[in-house]
């Protein structure tokens, strides 16, 4: 392909400016960006509750539960996302489930982010003074309620910065789903590159858009953090 690019640059009229190109492909990039956001967002949201459950599993009293939780975490944190994506994508039809590529992509990313979010939540849970749990136990509050009404609300506020980082990571990793033919941002830029013979401009455009999305997420994260802090409910 790179040989074609070299030729293409000579053939394509140099009159087609960067601006013209961007205008022509803007709708495609916009659509690709939406798909990226949708895929990333779905994966993150899907992974949140299982991640909390996994975090409790990692700290469980039962050795078998802990072992299983550790195994899950170890695998999904210890293998590349691309490989996870390919395994999920090719495994599903084999066991009889046929899903569109986008769903397979969201599922793989969700399974992945569950492991990473679990680690984040676990650290947060362990930072909460144990006395709060004892006070709850003395009042007769059961484990389920202690976890979901006392521990989880505090944990989420505590680990918000780390979760924002994880969101940014998933957004970047979503670029890999282009290999299973999901038309997200990276795939759009690939299409533009091969159609226009202007790979530099195409990939730069994609890079800039990713940067903007990640920047927006970070800024939004800071804003949420500040609002929670002003509510006066984050101190330990």
């Amino acid at each position: 392909m790179r040989e074609k690019v070299a030729e293409g640059r000579m053939r394509v009229s140099r009159e087609a400016s960067m601006l013209d190109l961007l205008v022509k492909y803007a709708p495609d990039f916009f659509h690709g960006m939406l798909v990226t956001i949708f895929v990333s967002g779905s994966a993150i949201l899907l992974g949140t509750v299982p991640a909390l459950a996994l975090a409790f599993g990692l700290m469980s009293k039962h050795p078998m539960v802990r072992y299983a939780a550790n195994l899950y975490r170890s695998f999904w944190r210890g293998t590349p996302i691309l490989v996870q994506l390919l395994v999920v994508f090719y495994l599903l039809p084999v066991i009889g489930i046929s899903v569109p590529p986008m769903l397979a992509a969201i599922l793989a990313l969700a399974l992945n982010t569950t492991a990473f979010q679990a680690e984040i939540y676990r650290a947060g849970l362990q930072a909460i003074p144990y006395g709060q749990i004892e006070a709850a136990r003395m009042l007769g509050i059961g484990t389920r309620h202690v976890r979901w009404r006392i521990l989880v609300p505090q944990t989420i506020r505590l680990v918000l910065p780390a979760i924002v980082s994880e969101i940014v990571i998933i957004i970047k990793n979503s670029s890999l789903v282009s290999v299973i033919a999901v038309t997200e941002l990276t795939r759009v830029s690939q299409q533009m590159a091969s159609n226009s013979f202007r790979p530099l401009e195409s990939y730069l455009a994609a890079g800039v858009i990713y940067l903007l999305i990640c920047l927006l997420v970070s800024v939004a994260g800071l804003a949420v953090e500040n609002r929670l802090r002003r509510q006066g409910a984050v101190s330990l």
Partner: protein, 216 residues
């Protein structure tokens, strides 16, 4: 084919892919760590312009997917005179990308050393390079080793993306075997297990190193 047959037939090929991955990540780290150190020093520079450039570099690398970086270098490279084979491009891309992350790790490490020590050394007339090498770096090790090992592990995982620009590393080998045999589960699972093994070993090595450095 049965699992045993699979291992016998494709084992050596997969192992060669694993070594390719190791080799690539090794060289990428050779770029990423020193470059990261340079950027970290720039981040702490007194000249605002240098700090700004360094910060821009870090934010770009942290906000851009590795795949886009690789595409830019590999497919966009010829447009600005960079024509390299796939593997060198991969190493370069991974190295530049990793440097952005190492810069943050090393910056935090540099910051952890009390300014007073550096000022005392300067008052004694010791040159800056010497201060870096003999006073700052040795003390930083304790703080810097765990996240650095972690970052190397991240690089190994990110290196899988190199398969997309046709570098014959572990993931690409897996894809090739899948193509040949039309059996997709075995090759990709094998690839996953090999990465897993590699990373578990590295993580264990990291813990050992961490403990050694803590008691140094």
């Amino acid at each position: 084919m049965t699992t045993l047959d699979f291992i016998a037939t494709y084992g050596p090929l997969l192992l060669s892919g694993l070594f390719a991955t190791l080799r690539i990540c090794f060289f990428a780290s050779l770029i990423a760590i020193p470059l990261g150190l340079v950027v970290a020093l720039l981040l702490r520079s007194r000249r605002a312009a240098l700090r700004w450039i360094a910060r821009a570099y870090v934010e770009v690398m942290r906000g851009t997917p590795i795949l886009v970086v690789l595409f830019l270098l590999y497919y966009g490279g010829p447009s600005f005179g960079l024509v390299l084979e796939a593997e060198p491009v991969g190493i370069l891309g991974l190295g530049l990308y990793g440097a952005g992350y190492f810069a943050e790790i090393l910056r935090a490490g540099l910051q952890s050393i009390a300014q007073g020590q550096i000022e005392a050394a300067r008052m004694l007339g010791i040159p800056a390079a010497h201060i870096l090498w003999r006073i700052q770096l040795p003390q930083m090790l304790r703080l810097v080793v765990p996240p650095s090992i972690n970052q190397i592990i991240v690089l190994i995982k990110e290196s899988a993306a190199l398969s997309i620009i046709t570098v014959p590393e572990l993931t690409k080998i897996g894809a090739q075997i899948a193509n040949e045999t039309f059996a997709v589960i075995q090759p990709y699972l094998a690839v996953a297990l090999l990465y897993w093994l590699l990373i578990e070993i590295l993580a264990a090595l990291g813990h050992w190193l961490e403990r050694k450095v803590r008691h140094a």
